[in-house]
Amino acid sequence: MAKITLQSLAHTYLDEPQSPEDFALQELNHDWNDGEAYALLGPSGCGKSTLLNIISGLLIPSHGRVLFDGKDVTDLPTADRNIAQVFQFPVVYDTMTVRENLAFPLRNRGLPASEVQDRVSRVGDMIGMTDVLDRRAAGLTADAKQKISLGRGMVRDDVNALLFDEPLTVIDPHMKWELRTQLKKLHRDFGHTMIYVTHDQTEALTFADKVVVMYDGRVVQMGTPVELFERPAHTFVGYFIGSPGMNVFDARIDGSKAQIAGTRFDLKTGYKLNGGSTKIGVRPENIRLGDHGLPARVKRVEDVGRHKIVRLDLGGQEVAAVAGEGAQIPSGGTHVQFVEGGVNVYENDWRVPPADGEPPLEQNTKDAA
């Protein structure tokens, strides 16, 4: 296992990039700590698979270096990096049994047969496939095949990192949860460095200690699930994480006073701004309906079972609010209020911290999923 360092890493698929738009991956510096579980979260085409392939060595970056424990591996081929990768579509060697599949990477490295046998039975145990070891891999279900490809990585005990490229895409919904739980348990028990690429926020937030959110070729935020939920560093993060995503209002901000759609209200704390375009982001969970606050009209109510999602119109902007299952929703005009501490201020889409410092994050806040 190793600490992975990315130094001024960037990648372009073009020979002569002219502008930042030509880069699939914008320049970034980042450390992946030894033994932690990371999720790389972002929409399709945001560069997360490019980044993963650079770490695994399937792609050589056009700029910057990749270090494993301080050792430069940028130009090393995949085989010499000693990493494991689980792909979107299960990769098993069809003609081999499960046992032979698991033994394959060891045999290729010329290990003695007794040691191969030992490790294969240990890994078979870890991934819970001991009783199907002698079955042909071709006939197994997609989730079992994914476990085999995972096992082929874990069978090498000096493996530097386990990489996952959207590994649950072809898994049945009811098996997704189970497989994810097993992954998490494997991480707790054996402490491999894991990097998990996904576009599914639930997968990312439940799997990882730290989530790295990517957007348009750059890393926009890295943080714990709570940080991403409560303090999205970029309006995109607010919008992308949460269901429904964060409401973002065009707002005029002057010190601790704000104005949305012609109505002024107090932000309680001041913000230092530099004259860019300002916005206010409020999670639907942090909006209350009532008799005071900003005037709004209820457009429709969606009942999702655990709670209701109220869609409102606030001065021409669409707003979503979460209300309790039993709450009475007024049918026409109403007012909305923002829960204290639930308001984030953005300038040019990047979050501005309050001038007098951040209040501590409550760790027991609502889970994003």
Binding site: Q85, F87, T95, R136
Partner: protein, 289 residues
């Protein structure tokens, strides 16, 4: 609602008529000839299974059959590995992939008798590139005289004509392998041989089954190319089953024996193809366990 008319037959009728005229009726004519004898004048006499018996006892037919089996075996043993090898080395994408694909399919577009003529000229020692070159190297090469020269030329011609088919089918099989397999193999430090043995070959097996079946059936009834090239000679050395059959039916006008011969020929192709098919699909099933 239940309809009680027979109109559906009209929909099936065209197919029945087509199959009758293209297969059943001609085949039955052959069956008819095979059990009768004629002395010309359109007079026929019942002969029973007499012709089948004479054919089974005829050394000439057995010789042609062994020749045929040897030919099909040799060309399969060359074309299948060679086709796979070519497919493995074809560019996977880009402009060159299209160029190579077009070049590869060229031999398949040439009519059989033209292929025969091309090789006939190619092998001539006075004006043919191959024949002249071999001749000036001091090699005694003459496909109209020498047994080995004739066989080598006929086989080379078939390999030239049909390896492309195997290569194109294998190439299609290779193209369907997702990149992730190769990437996983790199991560597992698999050797080039292991990639071929455990990834490429299993994924190509379906198309290779088809390639082998097609090449077997086609080579087993080969006629035009060797007929144009050697006419079945020298002697009888390249007289394959169909050449022999035509000699018998049209050259000697032995309708009865030729009909019996062709029915047995048909059966042999069918049985061998069926065995191939069963063996190969059974391998598939075992794999699914």
């Amino acid at each position: 609602m239940k309809t009680d008319n027979q109109r559906a037959w009209f929909l099936v009728l065209p197919v029945l008529v087509l199959v009758a005229f293209s297969a059943v009726i001609p085949l039955m004519t052959v069956v008819n000839y095979s059990v009768q004898d004629t002395f010309g004048n359109n007079q026929f006499f019942w002969a029973g299974l007499e012709w089948f018996k004479t054919q089974l006892e005829s050394e000439r037919m057995w010789d042609a059959l062994w020749r045929q089996l040897a030919f099909s075996g040799i060309i399969l043993a060359i074309e299948v590995p060679l086709g796979v090898f070519v497919a493995l080395n074809m560019p996977k994408k880009g402009v060159w992939a299209s160029v190579v694909l077009v070049l590869m399919s060229l031999p398949l577009l040439i009519p059989w008798n033209v292929v025969g003529t091309i090789w006939q000229i190619f092998g001539r020692s006075d004006i043919g590139l191959l024949g002249y070159t071999l001749d000036s190297l001091g090699i005694d090469y003459n496909y109209t005289q020498g047994f080995y020269a004739a066989w080598v030329t006929v086989i080379a011609m078939d390999v030239w004509h049909w390896t492309s088919l195997v290569a194109l089918l294998a190439y299609a099989g290779l193209q369907s392998i997702p990149d992730a397999y190769y990437q996983a193999a790199r991560i597992d430090q698999a050797s080039r041989w292991a990639v071929f043995r455990y990834i490429e070959l299993p994924k190509m097996r379906g198309v290779l089954t088809i390639a082998i079946l097609l090449r077997f059936m086609d080579s087993f009834k080969i006629y035009t190319e060797p007929f144009v090239l050697t006419g079945g000679g020298p002697g009888n050395s390249t007289t394959f089953l169909s050449i022999d059959l035509v000699k018998m039916a049209l050259g000697q006008f032995d309708l009865g024996p030729a009909a019996a011969f062709s029915l047995m020929y048909f059966l042999v192709i069918m049985v061998i193809s069926y065995v191939f098919y069963i063996v190969m699909t059974n391998l598939d099933k075992e794999d699914g366990k």
